[in-house]
């Protein structure tokens, strides 16, 4: 019965998801550039640079539907639970794994990493933004948080795939309301894993370099 009642809501989530993906494709003609991996359904953690709120829908939309069904973006609970609409779009349309960034809001003794590991154990692929926050600086990347290292250490079989989103800053710079319909490219690089005896700092630097290597080289026109 409960399953039956949730049906319209799940159908609505599917329709909204389709609409978002169509809108993203129409506006930005987003293109996936599979450099280091093939678009096959393997368990992966896509870690990407983060400059705008459009980043996550962009990666999500450019994945082929069979991969998209199995992918869960890791997102901030304080953002996605703020109002009813977000609480529908985040957890239900995108099927986000919610993580609370505010220690005071967590239950005592609950490690936010546990939600992520649970999702991995269920076989889901993840999208994460290891910089933690949107990058508002001129630097191409902020220093990575430890989360990516912890995932790689705890679940060493999962491929960690660097994912570079180009052009989003031009499509919707901070403070603008109208998105520009420019072509956006999402580049997927070669997967990396935490090596034996590799410490946190060394791994995070290697991950950061692997991501940066995918950025287009040319100077700003």
């Amino acid at each position: 019965m409960k399953l039956l009642l949730s049906l319209p809501r799940r159908a609505a989530a599917k329709v909204v998801g389709l609409a978002i993906s169509l809108l993203v494709h129409f506006l930005t003609a987003v293109r996936a550039n599979w450099v280091g991996i093939e678009p096959v359904n393997r368990q992966r953690v896509y870690f990407a640079n983060h400059v705008s709120n459009a980043d996550m829908p962009m990666i999500w939309s450019c994945l082929p539907p069979n991969l998209r069904r199995n992918v869960r973006p890791v997102a901030a609970a304080d953002y996605w639970l703020k109002n009813k609409l977000r609480a529908f779009v985040g957890p239900e349309v995108f099927n986000c794994v919610l993580v609370d960034r505010r220690p005071e809001a967590r239950e005592t003794g609950h490690d936010p990493m546990q939600n992520i590991l649970d999702a991995l154990d269920e076989g889901a692929s993840l999208i994460i933004f290891p910089e933690g926050n949107r990058n508002m600086t001129d630097a191409p990347l902020l220093p990575f948080k430890a989360g990516l290292f912890n995932m790689g250490l705890a679940r060493p079989d999962v491929d960690l795939v660097p994912t570079w989103i180009a052009n989003v800053t031009d499509i919707m710079p901070k403070g603008e309301v109208i998105p520009l319909p420019l072509i956006c490219t999402v580049t997927f690089g070669e997967p990396i894993h935490v090596a034996d005896n590799e410490d946190k700092t060394a791994f995070l630097e290697r991950a950061s370099n692997a991501l940066l290597a995918l950025a287009p080289k040319e100077e700003k026109l």
């Binding site: 003609a29 293109r31 031009d170 520009l180 319909p181 420019l182 072509i183 026109l221």
Partner: protein, 312 residues
């Protein structure tokens, strides 16, 4: 069925027959050359995208004037998006670029649809040219300002202004020539330019020796000359679609394909400058809309103006 539609039917069957033979010819080449011959594969992807274009064009033609306008407005949108992705811009240009996409482009096609010739022939080169830089400068960033506004204007001229002159052919009224035949004139222009491209490719492969511009394009003088002459002959056969008469139709076909194919050299230079092979990935195996329409876009305004100058 209107007289124009019934006249279009034979050309539709002719084109479909021709495409069918090209497809079979390509498949035969593929059989002989093996599955991975790059020349054959290039040829086949071209043929496939022509099929797509013919289907879309026919649908728009059945839908009439509005269908034609919507088709080219969409092509303009896709081409403008490809172009502006590669140009210089700053956040200060955000509003003027948004205006280019969401105001200038639709207005231009509305003016064409309404047949306001006095407006659509100057809207982009005068109004957009003067007003968009003002919008940009009000946001106050002078870094590379001239380059930014010049590239934006070039993008608009090519992808909106020039492209809109293809449907604008519908509005030309030649005395003693039924007005609804304007749509056939569009078909004439697109066919001669596309045949010109195809023949250029074919002759260039066969007898091409002297490159026109070394380092930018593999087009050759021999291929170009042969294709222009062959296209003129095709134009003569298609003269019934136009108000021109046979000798003039041959001259107009030659003019359109000459301008168009040299125009595609200009696009090749821009792509080379920006370090890209294709404008985008939107037409599978083909690159972008601009890769496909570059010669038509270049030929359209000149074809339009010569027609109005001489025949109206």
């Amino acid at each position: 069925m209107t007289p124009t539609t019934s006249e279009f039917l034979p050309i539709f069957f002719l084109v479909c027959g021709l495409m069918l033979s090209l497809t079979i010819f390509g498949e035969a080449l593929r059989q002989r050359a093996g599955p991975d011959n790059p020349v054959v594969e290039t040829f086949m992807t071209r043929v496939r995208s022509w099929w797509g274009m013919i289907v879309l064009f026919t649908l728009a033609l059945i839908a009439g004037k509005v269908g034609m306008l919507v088709l080219f407005a969409f092509a303009s949108f896709a081409a403008l998006r490809e172009f502006l992705t590669l140009t210089s811009k700053r956040q200060a240009d955000h509003l003027s670029l948004a205006l280019a996409f969401f105001v200038v482009l639709p207005l231009q096609y509305i003016f064409v649809g309404l047949g306001w010739q006095a407006l659509y022939t100057v809207f982009v080169p005068v109004y957009a040219f003067l007003l968009l830089p003002i919008v940009s400068v009000l946001r106050g960033n002078s870094e590379r300002f001239l380059v930014r506004v010049a590239e934006t204007q070039w993008a608009l001229m090519i992808t909106v202004f020039c492209m809109s002159h293809v449907p604008a052919l519908m509005t030309i009224q030649v005395e003693g020539h039924p007005t609804d035949r304007g749509i056939l004139l569009i078909a004439f222009l697109i066919m001669v330019v596309q045949f010109g491209d195809l023949l250029d490719f074919f002759f260039g492969r066969r007898i091409g020796k002297t490159r026109i511009v070394e380092g930018i394009s593999s087009k050759t003088w021999e291929g170009k000359m042969c294709s222009i002459m062959a296209t003129a002959v095709i134009g003569g056969f298609l003269a019934w679609m136009t108000p021109f008469g046979i000798p003039a139709a041959m001259a107009m076909a030659a003019l359109a394909t000459t301008v168009g194919s040299f125009g595609s050299l200009v696009f090749a230079a821009i792509k080379r400058d920006r370090g890209v092979k294709d404008w985008s990935h939107l037409i599978p195996g083909q690159g972008g809309f601009l890769d496909q329409l570059d010669s038509v876009v270049f030929a359209a305004p000149i074809f339009y103006h010569v027609t109005t100058l001489i025949w109206t």
